[in-house]
């Protein structure tokens, strides 16, 4: 990936020097190993801070609407899809946006590694190998084995909307909804038990919501006092209400970037809910969010012959 970073830095430097943009939103090295952190560059000298590797896991579209002025954004496939949805929903002005598109081979799921090695003390990534020095043990991984679950089923690793494309393209893996099907094939009781277990882990810190590029409501339903959707108590049922409520808010909008799951400190399987909704949206309305400017969000349109299997049988 490393000739790419020179091009990214050069592009960022040029854009800032020419005054085409006020800020470049990209990634810099984080304070922890295998973590990058979003950064906001405002002067050309800072461009060398930018990095580009398999740790660039945040969805930068999250910061697009809240950053004032003209901005350039470094966008992976999912970031660009998120930007597309935000543009469709009139959250962004296209003229204020300069998208530096980079194809993405996937990002590392740090939680997967830490489950084995304990807290990571040191890590290096070279040629598709991730060497980790952990508190419990040292281990070397193939990148493909520790790739995030979302990236493994990602159908759009190449940016869909760009002003400047850097680097080559990545071949999109073939993927279906077999992960959802596997869960669907379980009995209702098994699924109930599965989600109960997952929801019992949730501490409702709302890190998933904060990391999500689509969660931009000025007042989220979880913060709303009248009506009070959630009481703030510790309750598995309320956790499920939050997670399903959020999944339904993202219906036809979720771009499957996985920022929510990676942000989760408790390892809740948020993906199980969002993938199910995405599968339904794809099957019922043949819609995938943010892949084209011409396709309207699935829940903004309708057709006279939409499926009606949900009606009560009389």
């Amino acid at each position: 990936m490393n000739s790419i970073i020179d091009d990214i830095r050069a592009a960022a430097r040029q854009l800032l020097a020419d005054g085409k943009v006020d800020v470049v939103i990209g990634y810099e090295k984080g304070s922890l190993p295998l973590k990058s952190t979003p950064c906001f560059l405002r002067s050309p000298q800072d461009a060398d801070k930018l990095i580009w590797d398999e740790t660039c896991e945040n969805n930068l579209a999250t910061y697009a609407a809240t950053t004032a002025g003209k901005k350039a954004i470094i966008a992976k496939g999912c970031d660009s899809r998120a930007l597309m949805v935000l543009l469709q929903e009139n959250q962004l002005v296209r003229d204020d946006l300069y998208i530096i598109g980079v194809s993405c081979p996937g990002v590392i799921d740090k939680n997967k590694i830490e489950a084995e090695t304990g807290e990571i003390i040191e890590a290096t990534i070279t040629d598709g190998k991730v060497s980790v020095k952990g508190i419990l043990c040292d281990k070397e991984y193939n990148f493909t084995d520790v790739k995030d679950a979302y990236c493994q089923t990602c159908r759009y690793p190449n940016p869909v909307l760009v002003d400047l494309k850097i680097g080559g393209t990545v071949e999109a893996p073939q993927s279906d909804f077999s992960d959802v099907l596997a869960l669907e094939n379980n009995s209702a009781e098994e699924r109930k038990a599965y989600f109960k277990e997952q929801m019992s882990k949730c501490i409702r810190c709302y890190a998933c919501r904060n990391a999500c590029p689509m969660c931009y409501c000025q007042e989220c339903f979880v913060d709303c006092n009248a009506p009070k959707w959630l009481t703030g108590g510790v309750d598995t049922a309320e956790n499920l209400l939050f997670q399903t409520g959020r999944a339904l808010h993202l219906a036809g909008r979720c771009v499957e970037c996985g920022a929510c799951s990676r942000a989760c400190p408790q390892g809740v399987d948020i993906r199980a809910l969002s993938r199910k909704v995405n599968k339904d949206v794809k099957e019922m309305y043949n819609h995938e969010s943010g892949i084209s400017e011409d396709i309207k969000p699935a829940l903004n349109v309708y057709s006279a012959d939409d499926p009606e299997e949900f009606l009560v049988k009389e």
Partner: protein, 154 residues
């Protein structure tokens, strides 16, 4: 909606069902059932909404969190919406809600969707009968969304 309701005469369990009815069709249908004196079980608690398109998925979840044993959502037949397309956009939402709730393990029959027009008083009574039977068969709400203590601290 704390403790479950029992019929005073027959001592049989009667579910409590939150019924979200659209103002223009289903609510008028319920009204017609009343005016026409078509009997149906007194299990529903009607909540009148301007349009089925106004129904937020959270209404359904919160009703169950607060202890409703079942939910009935009803609006105009597709094509008959007072606001032209409200029930069409609602239909897409309902299909996703229904599918996701079943996926997370909610029993089939807890949440029910139907179209009832203002002229279908008899049918409204039939729908409520059917929904009541299904929910009664499932028993009191102990489901995935039921919050202990009623889900409200107000």
């Amino acid at each position: 909606m704390g403790e479950s309701q029992v019929n005073t005469e027959t001592k049989a369990y009667e579910p409590k069902i939150a019924a979200f009815l659209c103002n223009w069709c289903s609510y008028a249908g319920a009204d017609l059932a009343g005016v026409g004196r078509f009997q149906y079980p007194a299990t529903i608690r009607t909540i009148r909404v301007p349009c089925s398109g106004r129904i937020n998925p959270l209404y359904i979840l919160k009703a169950m969190a607060n202890g409703a044993d079942g939910v009935l959502v009803s609006g105009c037949h597709p094509g008959d919406c007072h606001y032209m397309s409200g029930n069409y956009v609602a239909r897409r939402k309902f299909a996703l809600i229904d599918s996701l709730l079943k996926h997370v393990g909610l029993e089939e029959g807890r949440v029910n969707f139907s179209w009832v027009s203002a002229a279908e008083g008899v049918r409204f009574a039939e729908v409520v009968k059917g929904v009541t039977e299904r929910v009664a068969a499932l028993g009191p709400n102990t489901g995935v969304f039921k919050v202990d203590g009623g889900g409200t601290d107000e």
